[in-house]
Symmetry: D4
Subunit: 172 residues, 8 copies
């Protein structure tokens, strides 16, 4: 799919060590059959490339950008500054501060340039993709239906886990 | 405008004391001529009303929900759990912890239910509206143009402030 | 016992991965022969089920609800909003922030809807059960006696550990 | 009322400077016609007095103890260690750390001695009283009815504030 | 020595799991030939015993009390409230909050009852003993000499480590 | 008194703006008729002077050093490194971080060089003096008696405040 | 001076509201007769301008860049990414988080792109200028002499403040 | 090289356990063929030696000092107080507080004595060396060229990692 269809979502990460977390976003998009591209690009080590990518993202047909970064996480803000597309930031835990540095560096954007910040780490990467789908679903009823099914699946999964829990209660 | 046009954006806040901050979101939407509605509803004091509002938001034609809340800010998460619309959370500083409690209670959503979190306070309220506009602009080129103009205005304003700064340098 | 006797305490948790911590609450209640039920239900993934459970808890004869949740822990607050029963919240460490996110999201409830918050993790789960027993003991002298015995046991255990410590002092 | 009826709730505070916050608890109890007593007693400056009060609280007919303290807030824990009554802790903001010190010193109780911790400051004091009422309501249906009415009042108040908000929207 | 000589320093800890850290204090005192005693006693689980120990410490000839405790660490404050002896608190890392809870609960004592707080964990236990020795050395010149020797040893050890470092520089 | 009697306690502060807080220490010492001296000296701006003062403190007859400093508070540690006297550190709130920076910079001393850390700000300054008195009282029974009287005074003051509270309860 | 001499130091700030703090840097440079320029430019609102300025800074003869920014402070990192000049970051307190957000967003730079971070606020702005002077002094002995004089002045000022303190001691 | 060439950069660390982190600084300097020396010296355990080293650093021809320290990290500040050379501080994670203590103790220097603070840990050590090189490059065009090459290498490395990522995308 990724090859043939032009990507609707771009997933950026500041370092290849972020892949283990950020692929959660890719997996969710894949499960919803949404074409995406993923790339390593850094706000600090490859500023030009990042700038070029962000500036051309809209004209290339991308609709949402998901950006994962750790430490003094500037990548999402830098991208959001030069594209009118909605940017979703995923703060990553890349230092001893457990992602608190990345969270503040991502979410505390000054008025004018918004970055939609998700939770630190894997939950955030998963939710970034789901949020991109919520945005795309505004104009694609099929995605809205799939989201609905996804929610029902989650609910069912919770109920199944609850049943398993009841069995474990015996040997408390 | 608000009366005639069906609202595209719903702005929710947990308490009327949040109005001073959340109206920044309203002002931005108004400046972009986007119809919106604003209401006080609480995750804890009016759970039913909140639930009903969130469940019916999509069928009423709303496209984005902006939710401001302070302290143990549950409102955005509670809303996001029952609507497929993109929800934007604005953590408010309502306690001595300066909004850090609201930030963590809003952004650290578990995988499955995303809330797009903005900065604490007024910058966050402003950016929530701008983010809603970025989303709406995906299918409305006129908004994309206006966003572009808004960015140019910001740049010009920075440059004007820079000129004023130069004059103040004399009496350093 | 659990099968025959109607439960007095309901233990809720947002995810089955919380069981390892929350079973401490179950163990304490079991040791005090207090009938309880335990279930997995989520504020976000199964909001309806959670709502229904909370609304009906009192008429089903439950007296205290113990609620464990991590991250942006909304479960206890959401439950407390729709039941008049005393709700005890146990913040769990489910993210890199070590439970600080869950603590603030549980304890910083706005005026009107109280959640009695315990320590993060296992100590909190143990204490949640002991607190439920303190509440139940107000009208059941047998439980007050047992609590008394429990306190004596703790004191004796500390003294025993102190004796063992004295032996270890030799090889300091 | 306080003179004639033996108090059901004891409200303790470590310093008279805590009164401005802790009286919120008294006001709520008064509104529910629940007899209470209030006293200044310190874990560190009057340890004997605190100890004697806590040890005799149950036999004097008290059912719930509400304890407000700031800084290294030890009062609630010290009291909970020698009474089997449910103890509710209200962390107060008494230092530059905005109550975060009092929160951790109150909530992070080790397994064995629970303290039900509320939010920092006035919201916590209000909720402490409401929580005491939830406990008392378990055996007093009249209080359960009043709690119900209180919740309806809160909901109505939110709706009224919402209406006022609608009027302010005009001059956004 | 400990058997024959009456102890000058009492080392208290809230739980036997604190021994691994607190024995550092014992080791230092032993190296300085200062008689000490060590005991497990809890502010919450054995409040009476703690109280009795603290009240009688001075008349038993103790000069300094070292108190290690984790979580909502009340032990040092509770002891300091009823003895005129200098009390040294060692905050321990006993929860996911890495000792920050114990630090604030130990150091933020209100005016009137001082607790001399050391660093979290082993460095703190070591320093607590060294601080006790500084106090004792005020009236015992032999201890002042030994402290002096200890400082020279530390300096020499740093220099030796520096020499080893020079050798490792080759294979940088 | 200060002129005639050689000082037993030295109170150091890093800046004259610390005087408002640190004089609390002076007031307590004065009330106990303990000769002290007070000086402004900085770890960074007057390192030589600080060094000389610390090195000669013991031979000049000083027994305890109280050191107040804010921000990256190095003064207490720098002093403690070159004197065998017990050093008491008072972290001051001198930046927007409310004294948390000074607390960590004072208390987290590495093993070998202890600084007895008190609470941030005025409570800490008061307690530093009281702690110095506890140390001096080890060899001066008169001070022990005065400390005892001080504690009784505190207790009486709490009780008096409690009585005043009872009167205020009427107009709750 | 500023007009005639080409500037050696560039002082950047993200907003004109940062001027009150950042002018401290200008004042120090002026006192050392070092030509500088000051401008408002934003990482997010004027990314192009910022980029162009940073890229051309070295060829324009600038030697050091001082960058003040608050909130999710990206400006220093963005500048450091495209210039080989030493960049000094001053985190500013622009939100309720007291500059902690700006501190982490400035200092936690990933390996490869260093930003020399100073204290939050005015102390940081002053020190940024002094640090620039330390760098320039490496090749300009006159500046080294002036720095030396500045240090002597600071020491003298501390001693003068100390003398004033002695006079205030009388009315303690 | 180190033997023959007089060192331009001095790398100090408070403990030999800091070597694993601080050698990153050495490796970068070595790669740039910059002569450096490395030594273990402590602000608290060897204050004299530290003082002597810092005072003589400039006359020995050193141009930049890099100082790594953990916990209550005073070393960089103590050194900066007595040398006019630019000092770069690297906060190390040496306690359970993950380097947050060292960060605040290093960066929050009072006005007058600047310490250029880098990120906590290895990224900080790497960047400290790169920052020293940026300073040296001001007067050595060869270093500026090498820095340029280093930046190109980083960019190329990011691009290579990006290509590897593309291959991994297949098995998402």
């Amino acid at each position: 799919m990724n090859a043939a269809t032009p990507p609707l979502v771009g997933i950026l990460m500041g370092s290849d060590s972020d892949f283990d977390v950020m692929r959660e976003a890719g997996r969710v998009l894949k499960a919803f059959d949404i074409a995406f591209e993923m790339l390593v690009t850094s706000a600090h080590r490859t500023p030009e490339r990042t700038h070029q990518y962000a500036i051309r993202a809209r004209e290339r047909g991308l609709q949402v950008l998901i950006v994962g970064a750790g430490a003094a996480a500037h990548l999402a803000g830098v991208v959001a500054a030069v594209t009118p597309l909605p940017v979703i930031g995923v703060p990553l835990s890349a230092t001893g501060l457990q992602g608190m540095d990345a969270l503040l560096a991502t979410v505390q954007m000054p008025g004018g340039i918004p970055v939609a910040t998700m939770a630190i780490g894997k939950a955030g990467a998963t939710n970034a993709a789901l949020y991109a789908i919520r945005i795309l679903a505004l104009t694609r009823p099929d995605l809205a239906d799939r989201l609905n099914a996804y929610h029902l699946d989650m609910a069912r999964s919770v109920e199944k886990k609850n049943q398993l829990l009841q069995e474990r209660l015996a040997d408390l």
